[in-house]
């Protein structure tokens, strides 16, 4: 498939995706199919859903350290795909999990941090769902072509 132009991608993903980064992934596909990029993207979906589950568990265990690790983990892959909203949400979870505010200053109150993580997690899940729908649509349409 030919590389989609920026307008088309923008119309699907809005500001949820960093186009430069995502296009870099698309460019790795062999000409004519998108096997590689879709495998990455769908791999990410699995990873994200697993991670969100682990985060939910860690949240009910009030395990901030685990939450921070998980945030960092998903931050890495979402950044690689250019899913910047998800990436930013994960960064928040990582920070608050480390008992830090977003500017890096310490936040000693664990209860506050847990509350923050909870909010961030809700937000990041919804951001994820949005971009997931977009990506699924994107690959679905390609298959139809």
């Amino acid at each position: 498939m030919a590389l989609p132009d920026d307008k088309e991608l923008e119309s699907i993903f809005g500001d949820a995706i960093d186009l430069t980064t995502f296009k870099q992934i698309l460019e790795m596909d062999e000409p004519g199919d998108n096997e590689f990029s879709s495998s990455i993207v769908f791999g990410f979906f699995e990873q994200a859903e697993e991670t969100f589950e682990s985060m939910d568990t860690a949240l009910s265990d009030k395990d901030l350290e685990k939450l921070s690790e998980l945030g960092h983990f998903l931050k890495g892959s979402s950044a690689t795909l250019g899913l910047i909203k998800v990436r930013d949400g994960c960064e928040k979870i990582q920070r608050y999990g480390k008992q830090e505010n977003l500017d890096g200053s310490p936040e000693p109150d664990a209860a506050v941090c847990l509350e923050r993580v909870k909010e961030a997690l809700t937000a990041v899940k919804s951001d994820y769902e949005e971009v997931e729908t977009g990506l699924r649509k994107f690959y679905k349409e390609d298959e139809d072509e």
């Binding site: 790795m28 983990f73 931050k75 890495g76 892959s77 690689t80 500017d103």
Partner: protein, 687 residues
């Protein structure tokens, strides 16, 4: 006529024939001659007087000498002084005297008088005054100098000699002192006999001598005719004074004969100046330091407070508490703006504000600011942007400052406009071969500015109070900063009231340089040039890619990365770059283990920093304890500055930020895997 008869009578009584003859001779003499009695009555007038001066005998005969000569002149009192003095001298000496330029005829010709006193024993019988016409030599100075019976040279010599406040002296062609005046003696302390024949560089300090200043001054003087300088000079006793020196090259008949040097002592003025400058600089520095320090010191806790407030707002608050917290947050934001404004202002005031040169897209900046400001419009206010079609697509200037100026005045316009509209119009107000002047006008339908307040608009720390209306937030620095910035960018800023209805028009201009070779007919050429540059970059990339693909198959890479998605992408990237032997492990411990087992199996390590089990830093530390050196490139999360420095401190060789950009990775891999020649010739080498 009485006197004539008296004279005649007197002479008749002696020797009638000879007396008649003498009188006749005198009367008929062609030389202008007056015979004057001791009481200064004129007794006889020669034909020469009548012919030369075109005056009748009756003007003179029996009249007072001075009255006849100078009567009617507005300066009679002064005119008579030289002649009266000369007559006194002649009479006292009983000998003839010359009085230079004693009389000016009605035709404007000057005559000198030869005064001949005639004595018989101790009695003076009469004075004979014979007049000679003076040949005018140099018409310019005739009036000034010659009538004083002094030569020009003498006058000047005396004048210069007598001046006490200026050292005036001559140097010969090589700079040796040739003359000396009283002023020079008083100023420099040398007596004439001490200094004449010595070189003028004697007056200069060691530093000036080492710099070759005296000779440089003479050379400049010969080239330009004169030279002026201020600086320290030294007296005979070694003390110094602040001198203002003028050296003039002197020529006689086109031949250089020496230098004239005039020196003034300005020590007192200089010291006063230095005191003033020092006091001013000190106070300006104190003020700016104070402002900068204070701003900085205030900003730190402000940030803390604002973040805390944001957190507070995120908690469960009652309506009242939320309102209060919102007030804290908003006030804090305003305060932060004030402080940032003061920082900018202190930088502007101390001249530390730097202007960058970059491409300025006037249209895109204006559009983007207007788009942002749209969010802050009060309900019912609309904004309109009018861009003249001749605005340059891009030009050179400081885009950030341009944006800042525009942001400032449009913020103001929006703030003060409660209903109606804000209109922005931009056009090219002037254009020459190298630059555009861009005029931006912001017209609002807000409250406007009272006439009396207009002059204070751009003064720093001024907020125009409107006691009857609500107080507007702001720093009172915005317009002042914007104006200074506009001036820094070669433009101006101003205000005028809106002619119809309420509102203000603020305008500013900035000068933007044209991009070389970019006039309308060559715009296409510019695009081509951009295209060429882009092509060159592409070509460079191609070249690097080609080279890496040659090298890659022989190189083995170990990558440590914990995230499966990232592992997959990284492996694909490396594959597409031509690497065939790539091992990917999931944490630092595995990396250390792999390398420890087969130290020679890899040529380079790509190391994620934050990994479970063992992070990248620790892994690097362990790898460095192994015998064999291997380059390690850190892959740092997109996060903070300073991370990269930490990587180098921790023993890594280089770093690349995540998510990994293909081109960056390409560069870094080439640098560390290819031969040194490549990295030397590469234009994109490490910083």
């Amino acid at each position: 006529m009485t006197s004539t008869s008296t004279t005649t009578d007197t002479s008749t009584s002696n020797d009638t024939d000879s007396s008649d003859l003498t009188s006749a001779i005198c009367d008929l003499s062609p030389v202008p001659t007056l015979i004057v009695a001791p009481n200064y009555r004129i007794q006889r007038v020669s034909k020469g007087v009548v012919d030369a001066w075109h005056r009748g005998r009756d003007d003179f005969l029996g009249k007072d000498l001075f009255g006849a000569l100078y009567g009617g002149s507005p300066l009679e009192r002064f005119d008579r002084i030289p002649l009266a003095r000369a007559i006194d001298v002649a009479v006292t000496a009983r000998n003839f005297r010359l009085c230079h330029a004693a009389y000016t005829s009605p035709q404007g010709v000057s005559y000198s008088a030869r005064i001949i006193p005639i004595f018989r024993r101790d009695e003076m019988l009469s004075l004979v005054l014979e007049w000679d016409e003076i040949e005018p030599k140099t018409p310019d100075i005739r009036g000034e100098v010659i009538q004083h019976a002094l030569s020009v040279d003498e006058v000047f010599r005396l004048l210069i000699q007598a001046v006490k406040d200026y050292a005036i002296f001559l140097l010969d062609t090589r700079g040796y002192v040739a003359t000396w005046n009283t002023g020079a003696e008083l100023l420099k302390g040398y007596k004439k006999e001490d200094i004449v024949g010595r070189h003028f560089s004697t007056f200069y300090g060691q530093e000036d001598l080492a710099d070759g200043k005296p000779e440089a001054e003479l050379i400049t003087c010969l080239r330009e005719g004169r030279v002026q300088d201020e600086g320290w000079r030294y007296r005979q006793d070694g003390s110094r004074f602040w001198a203002n020196v003028t050296i003039t090259a002197i020529y006689r008949n086109g031949v250089h004969v020496g230098f004239g040097k005039v020196t003034r002592d300005l020590t007192e003025r200089r010291e006063a100046e230095l005191r003033l400058i020092a006091a001013y600089e000190e106070s300006a520095k104190l003020k700016n330091d104070f402002l900068a320090n204070m701003s900085h010191e205030i900003r730190t806790p402000m940030h803390g407070m604002l973040s805390a407030c944001t957190l507070l707002l995120d908690t469960n608050l009652t309506e009242d508490q939320r309102d209060t917290a919102n007030i804290i947050s908003e006030s804090g934001q305003v305060l932060l703006q004030v402080i940032n404004g003061i920082l900018d202002y202190s930088k502007l005031a101390s001249g530390n504000f730097s202007v960058n040169t970059d491409l300025v897209g006037v249209v895109s900046i204006l559009t983007s600011v207007v788009r942002n400001v749209q969010m802050t419009l009060l309900p019912g206010v609309y904004i309109k942007l009018v861009l003249s079609p001749e605005l340059p697509r891009s030009a050179q200037g400081d885009p950030l400052r341009f944006r800042q100026i525009f942001q400032n005045i449009i913020d103001n316009a929006v703030k003060f406009t409660e209903k109606g509209s804000v209109q922005v119009a931009a056009s090219v107000s002037a254009e020459d071969a190298t630059s555009y002047t861009i005029l931006t006008e912001v017209t609002d339908s807000g409250i406007g500015v009272a006439e009396a307040d207009v002059q204070n608009l751009f003064k720093p720390f001024t907020q125009l109070e409107k006691p009857t209306k609500k107080r507007y937030q702001g720093t009172g620095l915005g317009l002042s900063i914007a104006k200074s910035l506009a001036e820094l960018l070669g433009g101006q800023m101003g205000y005028r009231p809106k002619p119809e209805r309420n509102g203000s028009i603020f305008w500013f201009t900035v000068k933007l340089k044209k991009i070389a070779n970019l006039d309308p007919t060559e715009a296409l050429g510019f695009q081509q040039k951009q295209q060429t540059e882009k092509n060159q970059q592409e070509a460079e990339k191609e070249r690097m890619l080609k080279r890496l693909k040659e090298v890659a198959p022989q190189k083995r890479i170990l990558a440590a990365e914990d995230n499966a998605v990232n592992q997959k992408v990284l492996s694909r990237v490396l594959n597409s770059l031509g690497f065939r032997n790539t091992t990917i492990v999931s944490n630092g411990a595995e990396a250390v283990e792999t390398l420890g087992a087969s130290p020679n199996a890899y040529d380079l390590v790509l190391m994620d920093i934050s990994m479970p089990v063992m992070d990248g830093f620790e892994a690097t530390h362990k790898i460095r304890t192994l015998k064999r050196y291997i380059p390690i490139i850190a892959m740092t999360a997109y996060a903070l500055r300073g991370d990269s420095e930490t990587c180098l401190e921790k023993g890594m060789d280089d770093y690349i930020s995540k998510p990994v950009n293909m081109n960056k990775l390409l560069q870094k891999l080439l640098i560390w895997l290819d031969s040194p020649e490549w990295s030397n010739s590469s234009t994109n080498g490490p910083p």
